[in-house]
Amino acid sequence: MTRVRRDPRADRRAAQIASLDRPRFDLAGRAADGGPGRPRRNPRTEFAALRVTGAARPRFDRQHRGEGAVAQVVSAASTPNVIVVDAPAFLVAVVPDAPGGRLTQHDRQLFGAARTLAGAHGAVAALVAGEIEGLGAIGADRVAALASTQNYAPDVTAAALASAFAALSPRHLLFPETPDGGDLARRLALLTGEPLFPDVEQLSATSVSRAARGKRVAQRAAPARLMTLGADVVAPYSGPAREGRSEPLPTAEVSAPAITDARRIPADPATTPLTVADFVVSAGNGVTDIEAFRRLAEALGATPGASRVLCDAGLMPRASQVGASGSVLTATCYLALGVAGAPQHLQGVAGCEHVVAVNTDLHAAMIERAGLAIVQDAQLVMPALIAALESERAS
């Protein structure tokens, strides 16, 4: 390849400015007109634009995302606009797990994936049994109610889903790859005869991929009609709220369930490993009454954890240490008593959805991290909590 040859004389003639007495040339102006040569930059104004406004001392955001983000937040707060898709070209349906009517992080990611697949012209429809709040905020354009079953009856739910699938005929139907979601997806695949692309590990609008043969090969395909999505594959939807308009569904015939009785047995906090526990109560150096702490954990039905200081002192078993060199939690709620919140400890808590902290120090990092913070002596709060739980049980 050869470069375009430049004729310096012609360039110079082009830069000539009409003048009466002597020839004049505007050599700098050529760049501004998009002429040959690199555009000129003014480093001083560029650097000034990187400055983060509102900070006490000069701070510069070199990735230059600050100003846009600030402007966005302001506009979102002033106009709470809801996106309405009136006549969607197609539907992408989602069946969240929502155990007990609460959306999990995995469910939110599922809506993020559906939004990616729906693009600008499609609509995301949530197929849910029972009332679930906040579906619009996480990206649902439509909400269709399935007949809710009193008990655990996956065969009945799958039949209801099959009739909804026929009625709505969505372009894609997404399930979470969880015990319940994966089970429903496979039942539906057999009921409808539609092939299933399970446990998606990577998803974009045009392709999906999954691991197969003991993670030796990755299978890549165009998005299938039925898919199950693994955890932490797609970020949850973070755009403006969507309408969440309710969509009528024809009522499905209900057959007699084959499972005659179902009872949920909550996890035994004494035997649940910290890494999978749903609710963890942990003690730090601020807890001196370990006996009361143990009784509190039992009364709350929570798995006991501890900071490194207590484990090093031998007051709590090493297996209960939370943090970078202990267990990394996936709990829904973390109740920290007398924990300062050292970075090594907070790493273990980063995955927790809700944090409650009790500490005597208002400026402790744990208080900053917590959704509910109590500035009070843990030795006073623990007996009060136990007493409150006991009096509730007695009444």
Binding site: V52, D61, R62, Q63, R65, G68, A69, V70, P179, G182, D183, R186, A189, L190, P198, R213, G214, V217, A218, R220, A221, D232, V234, S238, A258, I259, T260, D261, A262, R264, I265, D268, T271, T272, V276, A277, D278, F279, A302, T332, C333, V349, A350, G351, E353, H354, V356, V358, E368, R369, G371, L372, A373, I374, V375, Q376, A384, L385, A388, S395
Partner: protein
Amino acid sequence: MKIVVLLSAGAHPVSSAPVLPRLEAQALRLALALGETTGLHAGPSAAPAADALGHGLGLLTHLATREGDDPIPALVAALKAETPDLVLAGRRGQGGEETGLAPYAVAAALGVTIVADAVALAPGAAPGSLVVEQALPKGARRRLVVRLPALVTVHPGAPAPGAYAYGVARRGRVDTIWGVAGSAAEPNPIAVEERPYRPRPKLMRSAPGTGSAAERLAAATGGMASSGANVLVQPTPDEAARAILEHLRRIGVLAPAVANKPAA
């Protein structure tokens, strides 16, 4: 109770050598504790599934099929002839497509109930029923009473497989019969392109794609969660306890108090 365990020829997770998948050995342990058990394998060779004999299985029926045939029709035909009360299988294959659809296809063809992810089995109080304990996320369980016949898939959280013993394996028997010749397995109804697997970085939870550098750092360490934090400074212990319990109930980790409490 007549029990059949479906045994497959899996690939070892590290060496890819053909082995009995661990899940199926776990299923075998559950079955042997429950009643009279036989094994069923459809495929060109019984060698990998015959490992189950060493775990205490007495009889393995091998349905010989050609290489590359779909094993489902052979399994379904054999199970229809045998009419067991309970069929056990692993929740996923190991080393194949690993879609977990095979047990569902067998159950649908037999017209029996399928229950997924069992970690414990016990005979039910009523005759012809089974108590299945299902594994749920976060250590929870669900106890179901299922009418037989049923097909139950086994979860990795089930008790570890029984030990392998060479002498026991020698005493076991393998019966090889010709299985119903199914059509060649359909390649895959979804057109897939295969390439070597490459692990993907996991998505960082709560890390936003936008925002200033300070906001992104705060989100990565979980600092963003506290926006609009509720701080109670020096409340009385009782106030503190009430606030904590109320908060725990709102987020759903603590069972609600007895209903008549506010009236009291």
